[in-house]
């Protein structure tokens, strides 16, 4: 039974037209490569002294991740993403298995069990889980697209996201858990779930947050680790506690502010060089951009992200089927949330949640996941253009 509602009955199923090979979104690719280049340039300067004797340690690795990621992106672009729908149970199974495997045999990094140590690479299942979840949720919604207005559909989608989110938060990786929830919301939103459902979800979320932060500690149950609560609340008043939780954020603000309009250059970037800025190659990489290149550089990076989001939204509208639109919607939600929360964190307007900046932050799992998501977007674009190419010709952005 074919449940894809938007489908060209005349196109031979399973075999894409030859012209697909030529269709790709050049602006999306530009933003992708631009951010990858920015990442390498910033990492090169920021991590020069981090490991004595190996000035290029992080840059080389990040370069390899980008190389592998771009190959994966190309593969995804060339295949028809619609086939992934059929694999939804397998994908969800993979998601849950990897997350549980991390809990069972993962390595501990900075007090959290987030990764499985592979021979070359410590694999962060929660990162890859983001893109797996997007595909699964989109497939499930497509399946129930006729019942999208029903409460059960919303509940099912939320449940499918909340289960892995719960285990990820238990690792503990609060940031990724929140990303899962945002992905579910984004997919539901694009699918057209009732506004009343969203209102209900927000009410539930408010009650849950109150319970977790206030109710549970009062009853003697610690859902979040104390440091998580501290980090979440420290941004409200960073100078209160400059030596502990507020410290990172304060140093990040100092770094960005000291960059002024055009930046302090590599030599004078004392916040980064003197290691005052913590995690300057991962979570706080945007602060490095701000210090070294100033407002000009930071604005350029933000513009590239804006371009990325704009193209993703555009691809959402040219998708050949609902599945494609939903996947694109999930990716938009995932990227937008991560960029905003990470940049907001370095600017001191968002709490510290440990969310990496997509494509910029050092880290293989994050880079590969983001490039996979962008590969899906390119595939959706190519398929959508190919489908409409039967009706009309000429480039369309």
């Amino acid at each position: 039974m074919n449940t894809t509602p938007i489908h060209d009955p005349k196109a031979p199923a399973g075999t894409p037209p030859r012209s697909t090979l030529l269709f790709f979104d050049p602006l999306l690719l530009l933003a992708t490569l631009g951010l990858a280049a920015c990442s390498l340039i910033v990492l090169k300067g920021a991590t020069r002294d981090d490991i004595p004797g190996q000035p290029d340690y992080f840059v080389t690795r990040q370069g390899v991740y980008f190389g592998v990621g771009l190959i994966l992106l190309t593969i995804l672009w060339r295949i028809d993403y619609s086939r992934l729908r059929e694999l939804r149970y397998g994908i969800y199974g993979l998601l849950m298995t990897s997350i549980l495997a991390v809990l069972a045999l993962g390595v501990t990094a900075k007090g959290a069990q987030r990764a499985i140590q592979l021979p070359f690479f410590s694999f962060q299942a929660s990162e890859l889980g983001k893109v797996l979840l997007v595909v699964t949720l989109a497939a499930v919604v497509v399946e129930r697209s006729r019942n999208i207005g029903q409460r059960e559909t919303t509940a099912l989608v939320m449940l499918l996201a909340l289960v892995p989110a719960f285990f990820v938060i238990a690792q503990p990786d609060l940031g990724s858990g929140l990303v899962y929830i945002v992905i579910a919301l984004a997919v539901l939103f694009v699918a057209g779930a009732s506004w009343r459902h969203f209102a209900g979800l927000f009410a539930l979320a408010a009650v849950a947050v109150t319970l977790v932060l206030v109710g549970a500690p009062a009853a003697g149950v610690q859902v979040l680790k104390p440091y998580q609560v501290d980090r979440l609340t420290a941004f409200l008043n960073p100078t209160d506690n400059p030596q502990k939780q507020g410290y990172q954020q304060l140093q990040s603000k100092i770094a960005i502010g000291a960059g002024q309009k055009t930046g302090r250059g590599e030599r004078n970037a004392t916040q980064t060089k003197g290691n005052f800025l913590p995690e300057h190659h991962t979570d706080f990489i945007f602060a490095v951009v701000g210090e070294r290149f100033g407002f000009v550089g930071a604005a350029l990076v933000l513009s590239l992200y804006a371009l990325l989001i704009w193209r993703a939204l555009r691809i959402l509208t040219v998708a050949k089927n609902l599945f494609g639109a939903l996947v694109a919607g999930g990716v938009v939600g995932m990227l937008l949330f991560q960029v905003f929360v990470n940049v907001g964190m370095t600017l001191g307007i968002m709490p510290i949640t440990g969310i990496p900046l997509p494509l910029m932050s050092y880290g293989g799992s994050s880079v590969l996941t983001t490039l996979l998501a962008l590969g899906l977007l390119q595939s959706i674009y190519a398929q959508g253009r190919a489908a409409s190419a039967h009706k009309s010709f000429g480039p369309r952005l």
Partner: protein, 625 residues
Amino acid sequence: MALRVAVLGGIALVLFAVVFFRLWYLEVLSGDQYVVQANENQVREVRIQAPRGDIVDRYGRPIVRNRMANTVQIELARLPAPGAPRRRVYRRLGEVLQMSPREIQRTVVEQRKALPYANVTVKQDVSLSAMNYIKERQPRFPGVTVEPVFLRRYPYGHLAAQMLGYVGRITRKELKEERFKGVHPQAVVGQAGLEWQYDRYLRGRDGATLLSINSLGQSRGFLRRREPVPGRNLKLSLDLGLQQAGQIALARAGHGNPGGFVALDPRNGQVLALGSVPSFNPTVFAKPLLQSTYRALTSQSTGAPLFNRAIAGAYPTGSTFKPITALAGLSSGVITPFTVINDAGCLTVGLTRFCSPGNVGHGAVALSRAIQVSSDVFFYTVGRDLDPIKGQPLQHWARKLGLGRKTGIDVPEEARGNVPDRAWRARLGRAELRCRRAKHVPTCGISDMRAWSTGDNVNLSIGQGDLLASPLQMAVAYSTIANGGKVLRPHLGLEVDDSEGRLIQEIDPPPSRRVKIPPAYRDAIMQGLHAAASAPGGTSADVFAGWPQAHLPVFGKTGTAQRPNQPDQSWYVCYVPNRTRPIVLAVTIERGGFGASAAAPAARLILSKWFGVKAKFIAGKSRTQ
């Protein structure tokens, strides 16, 4: 779906707008402020100690200088965590410095309590070999540094020790004081004496090496150096030779009894010598002071060497007070220079008989003769007659000449002394009553509740009773009579010079006030003082036998002060006029006996030194008060 996409796009637009605005606010609008913070973050100042100024005598001979000493310090931030690793460092350090680890631990805890952020000085003046040992094995001594530090050096040892005072690490309390504004929290400042008084000039300004550091406080490189500014030198009016003669003379005449002396220039208040015996070597203050050393410096059994008797000792003055009584009697009209009073040995006032020692009378005496032979009955009579006069002229004159109040000398901890009068007795009585009521005891020992009586004034007239004055106050009082009415403000500081000895600032405080002394009165008193030191029958005439009175006339008065529960205190105050080097000298020796037997011979030795006369020690025979 188009609506939903538009909403999603709208949300993205709003979020990007927020982020852009915030970025603009941080980097462009408040960037300056963050640049300052980033620089504060990464710059550390390492203090370079400025050498403290020298203290030199009036001819430029150094009394206090600096020397470099290697000091072992502990920087707490770089010390290993408390527990076994820290104890290991203490143990290794203890072996090198010959200290027990427990001792080091205690030093660290104590100094840290006093100054939480400063480095802890474990040991000063360590040997070269210990320094090299630590420096060559620096990784085995994390947090331990050996640095050269300026310490105070005293080439003349015991000389003038009390007035110099000492230096020490600034305390937390002092850091908040106005006079130490802008001083580095680890700086060494004057803590007592002249070092404290003239600290502003002596201390100089510390320099610094500015280093760039990382978040762990490790150095990332040198930024720049701010040169230290050496402290100014302080030139004193002191004459080291005279000072030395004074301390030796007191030790010789006093036979080990404590005493003090002051030599002033009666024209301008310059202190030529000022000392107290027993003395001590101020080097003990250059290193952390031991409790036992401090006790030895202050205990009664050792004569409290730290106590500066010349300015902080307050005693009854005995007969050296008589010229003041004479001045009060003359100016209030009780006597004239020619009033003759019959000294029969005793005087009865009310129910009490006041007698001279041995009840020996001097017969009919006028003022000059009364001073010359130190007739008690003459001055008893004046004291008795002054008492009923309104305003208590005796006390009034004592105060006018500088007793009972601080002279304003430039050394801290000067004694105020006491000039007893009717109001003072009444005050004591009220304090006693208050105390008795508060504590519910029959007596507090503050006062015997006796009202002021004429007898009190009679006692005061010969410097007895409740009078308390320091040698410095007596020297100022005699200077005032000698110079015709200028009440001097004595001072030790003469000049502030730069490190090459060039004059920066002269110290010449004006007289505190002027007193009108009619020349006729002054002449009568001076005639008596001179006769006392030179004419037959004068109380100190035999002490000055052979002294060249013709060109160096001595105007001096002995004093023998009776003190409760101890032997008499010997006093001598004198004036020698001279065109170029006039001098007023006050000497007192506790438990020294008669004025003529201890203080006056010491004074002769000091004067010999000052005028280059052959020194001769003659203990006088006079048994007068």
